[in-house]
Amino acid sequence: MEPTNIEDPNFFHQVVDCQWACPAHTNVPEYIRLIGQGRYADAYMENRKSNVFPGILGRTCDRPCEPACRRGRVDGNPVAICRLKRVAADLKGDISSMLPTAPLSKNGKKVACIGAGPASLTVANDLLPLGYDVTIFESSASPGGLMRTNIPSFRLPAEVLDQEIAAIVDMGANMEYSTQIKSLEDLRSKGFDAIFIGSGAPKGKDLALKGRDEGRDRIHIGIEWLQSVAFGHIESVGERVLVIGVGNTAMDCCRTARRIGGKDVKVMARRPREFFKASPWELEDAEEEGIEITVNHAPKEIVLDDGKVIGMRFDVLSWNSDATKSEVVGSVVIDCDDVILAIGQENAFEWIERDMGMDFDNWGMPVVDEKTMATTLDGVFMGGDAPWGPKNIIWAVAHGHEAAISIDNYCNGVALEDRPATAMDLVSQKMGLTEWSYHNDYNPNLRQKMTHVELTKRFAELSLEVELGFSVEQTVLEVERCLNCDVEPVFKASSCIECDACIDICPVQCLTMTSGDGVIEELRLRLSAPSPNLDQQVYLSTKLAQTGRVMVKDENICVHCGLCAERCPTAAWDMEKFTLNLGYAGQVNQRVTR
């Protein structure tokens, strides 16, 4: 078998599970170490480099990093990455001098962004420092997009939102609030060098049910209703509320309802719990507030009495084991005063003229390149929820970075495919014979539990933030749970004398010396410990001098304790910190350094 090419940044990147899973590839272990050292501002800036909104995401991110976190495979619970991010944001202090700034002399290129949500703001964040003149068109009176209208303030305080958006806008973006773009063709004729569409998926799905029209006063579309609450247009709701759907928007709806008059709030789900779309922690938070989640109920009709909504009829379903087939086993009416439909969002592109040359697919969605964010229309780019439907903030940020690269390329006459290279640094962390620059001991701390404001208080005030954030004591315990997956055992086969010391000391038996012949699937069967996780790679050395075997490391559950390197008599193993250097707009190409 071929030895592993560790010069390829993707190899070690994949070992850093959290960073690999994050759409924006935030350097999680690095900022967690910085938090551990009390360097909150530096931790914040490390975050901001890739995810732009650490304070917002530290409260609202969908956290793809956490299910991926190696700690979950080690003790069952991932590191509380997301809430540690919030710690950095909360305690960062004054960072104004560290924020990027725009140059006084502009480069003469004008870029328009449609929608002031996370995708457009990221584009502006990346392009303003390069001298671009960026104009953001926003239909509402304030920036933030769905971050402001859809995420209730008891989860994301307005000050946090305002502060992080200001860091971008204050670089000199031209903000055109309360300006709905009604025609792309019109906008295109206004002399912009490039246009970015970050208009989101702003249309809530409706449900065609008997009684839907008659009951329209008490039947609400989830995201529109949340928006009305956010802007103060709606201040109350009936005592008995049914929320239809069980995604994260449904959770925001039911918890909001609980705060503005809802006493008996039920979330109605068609499928069993293990098939819910909402994140487990959002379900838990809702249930903590007394929300009842009812499974296997499919909406059938709105029950009216003299034109007034009094309840809703559901089919009771029985599902097969993988919830692909169901049969109706009963029918019930559940009383209610209001119904909130939170069953999904759609995109709306009625303002894009279909004869301009932008291709749309059979489902009416624009054709957008997943790497470059380019539409088929020259100079028009798209990202966030707009091109592929609702995802989450961190994806919008990732799209924004890519779109900014494309726009920069486009404006400079560089091919869109010619993107700044992803590079890496790999630097030894050795400080002494058995001393490292990182804390290598495995810490058996359990995941810290977030403290919440007590129920009576939070129902009294709509905007009171529920999560209190980690205390310093909790932070200290939680950072130590991080396994420093970016500090890699790196092997130099030519130094190895095959003494077995590393293999004997490894606490998880992830090392093996064996023949390098055969195929990887068969080699996995020959390893010291079972190798059940095929998503994780196997690191193969070149042939060893004395026996011709190879050193094999199963990356699945290495805890990066460095004992292999400490017990190696010839320093064939070394602990080296891997830093992924992502390419951003305007970056000069970087190289791999070791």
Partner: protein, 351 residues
């Protein structure tokens, strides 16, 4: 000495044995030996062999003398009984312990100095008595704890780290044990667990004295050019002509063995050892043949490894002394010490 203890990882996907224990349950304290020491590999091999045999830790007694090797019982099976004796005095301690409690599993860890210099007198008698134990010599050819002087197993012509060559002829523990009537004699190499682990398992199951001479490079003082006990030298000069497969009593035969040229030895506990040997007519039950073979190989500067000799029918120390089947520790006090009346009657028999 590592900066941290080897951590226990809750969900590490480690297999369990018949007792429901993992390999980690057979470990001991952190080694304070030099990084890369062969002794640590032997410790790891013992750990794995005991784990795979599903030995109850509380049935194991681990004993040693003095030296680098004799530190190592601390590093495996922390749940076992242990005794760290005076230099070279491990064999009589085991003999005594074994006399008192024949139901335990005894493993003595010694070095070339502990067994063949200061303790040579004790070593030879434990062999003669066929004390039922596993006797591991962690053989590195130097006195590591006193900075690398030649030991009694240093080959003629091998050089010390600073260059001086050894001129005193060595003691070969394998030849010595064979000549003393040892009933289980093996040689192995710390860098080859594939061979060492099955030998340790067979030694545990053997009834009687089981010697395993394990060449174990001293990374600090005897792993240089000119050494005949370095990782490199041993790998260059080792000949693995004698291969054995250990088949546990209840176990299925998973290894595929060609029938011709196979010698099978039935072990005391019902397990089987199957030998496949390359030297023509080599019979692991032929003491004279084994001695001749090892001597000849030595002249060719070859190091034959494997289980070189086994005699499963010889009486062990308890049979030789007609002791009771019940371990003495389990006998009631009245039987152990029947009183002055019984003594008087016994003495009467000599009149």
């Amino acid at each position: 000495m590592p900066s941290i203890r080897k951590p226990l990882i809750p969900l590490a996907p480690l297999p369990v044995n018949e007792l429901g224990l993992t390999l980690r349950d057979y470990e001991g304290g952190m080694s304070t030996l030099c990084a890369g020491c062969g002794h640590d590999s032997i410790t790891a091999a013992i750990t794995r062999a005991f784990f795979e045999l599903s030995l109850p830790p509380e049935k194991i007694a681990k004993l040693s003398g003095i030296g680098c090797s004799s530190k190592t019982p601390t590093y495996f099976v922390s749940g076992a009984h242990g005794f760290n004796s005076v230099h070279g005095r491990m064999p009589p301690i085991v003999t005594g312990a074994n006399a008192a409690n024949r139901s335990s599993i005894y493993i003595g860890i010694s070095g070339d100095g502990d067994s063949l210099s200061i303790g040579a007198g004790h070593f030879v008698h434990a062999v003669r008595r066929n004390v039922n134990m596993v006797y591991v010599i962690e053989n590195n050819g130097v006195y590591g704890l006193t900075k690398g002087q030649f030991s009694a197993t240093a080959d003629v012509g091998s050089s010390a780290k600073k260059g001086a060559a050894n001129e005193t002829p060595p003691i070969d523990p394998v030849i010595l044990a064979l000549s003393l009537g040892a009933t289980f004699v093996a040689r192995s190499f710390s860098g080859d667990k594939g061979q060492l682990i099955p030998i340790i398992k067979a030694a545990v199951e053997h009834k009687g004295f089981a010697l395993i001479d394990v060449i174990s490079p001293c990374i600090q003082f005897n792993n240089h050019e000119g050494s005949t006990k370095s990782y490199h030298y041993v790998r260059e000069h080792e000949i693995k002509e004698i291969d054995q497969v250990y088949i546990p009593p209840s176990g299925e035969i998973t290894a595929v063995l060609p029938e011709d040229g196979i010698v099978k030895v039935k072990m005391f506990d019902g397990s089987t050892l199957a030998f496949r040997t390359l030297p023509p007519h080599y019979d692991p039950r032929d003491r004279e043949g084994a001695m001749h073979y090892v001597n000849q190989a030595r002249l060719r500067r070859e190091i034959p490894t494997g289980l070189l000799f086994i005699d499963e029918d010889a009486p062990d120390v308890h049979e030789l002394n007609s002791t009771t089947d019940t371990p003495l520790v389990d006998l009631p006090y009245e039987s152990l010490c029947p009183g002055s009346g019984a003594l008087a009657r016994f003495m009467e028999g000599f009149k």
